[in-house]
């Protein structure tokens, strides 16, 4: 027998080629999910993504309505348009999910992320790090004689750019919150 030829469109999760070729373009979408804040709800959402082989690029979650016990989960994911539609439909049928919004489609939206970044260095590098932080409107939230921790808020691209600049200047650690996003206007 000839070797198995796994068809295009198969993933490492499944041998089936169930993805009709509507479009192969990978899109990045930010999805906001309003859920009842009950135990295990985050596991339900994450389990859906891992179980069905979807990507999670970033995920944030916190209770946003303390009286109604509603949490907002913001997920940044990538996939073909058909996969994105499936993700939304699958999220929508979780019993404790109240609302699913695709901010990328319903947009324009504002996306913000917070990062804290530790940079260790001395001399010129230290001065340069401070100068760049100023340009990026990053704040110094901790300092020792040979280190800074910067706090920066903005779109993920801006944080990427800042982190890239800090790397040669002694970046040692980054912590990021993931994206929080809201639709613009009323």
């Amino acid at each position: 027998m000839t070797p198995l030829n796994i068809v295009k469109g198969s993933t490492r999760h499944s041998a089936y080629n169930l993805r009709p070729t509507f479009s192969d373009v990978q899109e990045r979408h930010t999805i906001a999910v309003l859920v009842e804040n009950e135990p295990g709800v985050l596991a339900r959402v994450i389990g859906l993504f891992s179980g069905r082989g979807y990507n999670i690029e970033s995920l944030t979650v916190a209770e946003v309505d303390h009286t109604g016990h509603l949490s907002r989960i913001t997920i940044v994911t990538t996939g073909t348009p058909q996969v994105i539609e499936q993700i939304k439909a699958q999220l929508g049928r979780i019993v404790t999910v109240h609302d699913v919004h695709d901010l990328t489609v319903e947009g324009p939206s504002v996306e913000r992320e917070l990062a804290i970044i530790k940079v260790v260095g001395e001399g010129d590098k230290r001065v340069e790090a401070l100068r760049l932080a100023d340009i990026f409107r990053a704040n110094v939230v901790d300092s020792t004689l040979n280190s800074f921790i910067f706090e920066i808020t903005g779109a993920p691209d801006k944080i990427d750019a800042f982190a890239d600049l800090m790397r040669p200047l002694g970046l040692v650690e980054v912590a990021r919150t993931g994206v929080a996003a809201l639709l613009r206007g009323d």
């Binding site: 041998a15 169930l18 009709p20 509507f22 979780i94």
Partner: protein
């Protein structure tokens, strides 16, 4: 109205208030308080199974044959993990179940206590929803909500995990009231899209209805409306494995089952149609075959209560989200209001074309006078039982496909089979659940010997409750479907697809206190089947059949609907390596 009572009493009270009459279960340490309450009342019958998997499948059989949710009660730890297969089975086939599990006391959760398992964690992906109840005051409300979730929208299994201290503690019981939760799935379809579908139906030249388990889940009204629509329009209709019985097998527009082992005329009608109307089916891979060659020239409409089913596998042109009965009612209204139009001449021509395909007689087989052909056994079973008030369950494999091909179903809820998950061991416990719900009916489990052995311990249950379930075992001493695939795809290397140590089924039946019948001669078959039907009690019917019979027609993996194999002569080298990766 609220009343104070223990959590255990609440469980039983809530079951009564939800109209439950039968619970399938198995006791253990973490559910003893609930069993105590069951002992103290007479309204709810508890059926003691012999393995928790059996409890879930029995509840599935009960649910599928009545349209009511099935209920099972098992203990913590191994009780709950044994339930997992049944829960997954019910999830894939959209069977409404409410499963109650005991849990270690709340103060011991997380300590690796005796018989502790993270039940809600384990069952999260195999239930529609689940709950861990941590205080007795919320138990009643959770129970009522569980029934609401299990039966609303696309039905499915739900699970409530109840720690033992919650069962002992007192709390306020609240009676059921209309659900106020946000979970209220839409049942009415969009009228504009429905009108679009009707317009497409009016001009279609080669239409076909493709129906599924959703019609049966929607209730008897859905089947009634479907029959009205099919016979009104004269469009041909085929169905998935799960949807058999929604339209009668004797109906004039019936094409038979479609899919991998579906009928030639059904699959070719699907391939060549110009309008496909999917009602409550989900374009499963057993149905579609090769996706990019699936019904290439048709406009496709899809009616489904689950929005995630739409465009999941096949892009459709006319999506309608809603309950089948509601949508069919609206389709009929609109179609009638617009003057009951169809392109009658074209439909006549289309039916004539289908008639040509039908002449192939794809279910023909070479009979034998020496050995019993499994197809023949089912033909005789059909002939001798079809006039009875009959319910059929099956295990999984060749016998299941033959049963779907050779038995005719005139009504919904008469056919219980594991479709999505393909669970060997499903049929026997399911037959017990069906017989509990329909004590006077003839309940037959069409089985293969390998599947049947997977849950044979339930003979104890059948005997204990005097359930006259008939176990019709097509015994080929092989894992027939596995063997068939090994023959076609793996160079006839029959790796572990037979058993060298099968029991003597007649003695096995007698050991349990049931009747055993052995038949290996086609000439004796009718008498043996009559003996089985007429015996008032459980029967194990060991029907020794031809060992190397293959199940045809067959669409090989990775092939399109119009590339079916009709018989042995066509099987040489047809399945390429690319298809072998699929199951």
């Amino acid at each position: 109205m609220t009343r104070e009572m223990t959590g255990a009493k609440m469980v039983v009270q809530a079951l009564k208030d939800q109209g439950v009459d039968t619970v399938f279960g198995y006791p253990g340490g973490a559910v003893l308080p609930i069993y105590d309450e069951i002992f103290l009342q007479n309204d709810i019958r508890h059926i003691l199974v012999r393995h928790e998997q059996g409890a879930i499948h029995a509840a599935e059989g009960y649910a599928r044959s009545t349209g009511k949710p099935g209920v099972a009660l098992v203990t913590s730890g191994p009780g709950a993990t044994n339930a997992v297969t049944g829960l997954t089975d019910a999830l894939l086939d959209s069977i409404p179940l409410v499963v109650l599990t005991g849990q270690v006391p709340t103060f011991m959760i997380g300590s690796d206590a005796f018989q502790e398992a993270d039940t809600v964690g384990i069952t999260r992906p195999c239930t529609k929803h689940n709950w861990l109840v941590k205080d007795t005051d919320s138990l009643a409300e959770t129970m009522h909500e569980a029934f609401h979730v299990a039966t609303s929208g696309r039905p499915g299994p739900v699970l409530i995990d109840i720690p033992k201290d919650v069962q002992f503690a007192n709390g306020e019981y609240t009676s059921p009231k209309p659900s106020t939760s946000h979970y209220q799935p839409v049942v009415k379809g969009d009228l504009e899209v429905i009108t679009e579908l009707v317009a497409a139906m009016e001009t279609a030249k080669k239409p076909v209805f493709y129906t599924g388990g959703g019609v049966i889940n929607s209730g008897p009204a859905a089947s009634q409306l479907l029959r009205e629509l099919v016979d009104g329009t004269g469009f041909p209709i085929t169905s998935t494995l799960m949807g058999l019985g929604a339209y009668p097998a004797s109906g004039e527009n019936w094409l038979g089952m479609l899919g991998m082992h579906g009928l030639y005329e059904a699959n070719l009608a699907m391939h060549d149609c110009d309008l496909m109307i999917n009602i409550g089916a989900r374009f499963d891979d057993r149905i579609t075959g090769r996706i990019d060659a699936f019904s290439p020239n048709s406009k496709k409409a899809h009616i489904d209560i689950d929005p995630s089913s739409i465009n999941k596998v096949i892009r459709v042109d006319i999506p309608i989200v809603g309950d089948v009965a509601h949508v069919l009612e609206d389709i009929l209204k609109v179609w009638k209001a617009r003057g009951r139009k169809t392109d009658a001449a074209a439909i006549k021509q289309w039916q004539a074309q289908i008639g040509e395909w039908r002449k192939i007689n794809c279910l023909a087989f070479t009979n034998s006078e020496k050995s019993i052909k499994p197809q023949y056994a089912l033909q005789r079973l059909e002939e001798l039982t079809k006039k009875h008030d009959r319910y059929i369950t099956t295990e999984v494999g060749q016998h299941q496909m033959w049963a779907a091909q050779y038995l005719g179903f005139e009504d919904p809820n008469r056919w219980m089979t594991s479709g999505g998950l393909g669970t060997m061991g499903y049929g026997f416990p399911a037959s017990i659940g069906v017989q509990m719900a329909h004590p006077d009916a003839l309940v037959i489990n069409v089985a293969g010997e390998a599947s049947w052995l997977m849950n044979m311990q339930e003979m104890g249950t059948a005997i204990q409750y005097r359930l006259p379930v008939k176990q019709f075992i097509l015994n080929n001493e092989r894992l027939g479907m596995v063997r068939q695939w090994q023959e076609l795809l793996h160079g006839e290397r029959y790796s572990h697809s037979w058993s060298e140590a099968l029991p003597d089924f007649v003695k096995l039946a007698e050991a349990f206190g049931a009747k055993g019948i052995l038949c290996n001669d086609p000439a004796d078959l009718d008498d043996a089947i009559m003996e089985m039907i007429n015996y008032d009690g459980p029967v194990i019917f060991d029907c020794l059949v031809e060992k190397h019979e293959n199940c045809f027609p067959m669409i090989p993996s990775g092939k399109a609907h119009n590339e079916m194999l009709l018989g042995e002569a066509e099987t040489q080298g047809v399945i390429q390596a690319g298809g072998a990766v699929l199951v």
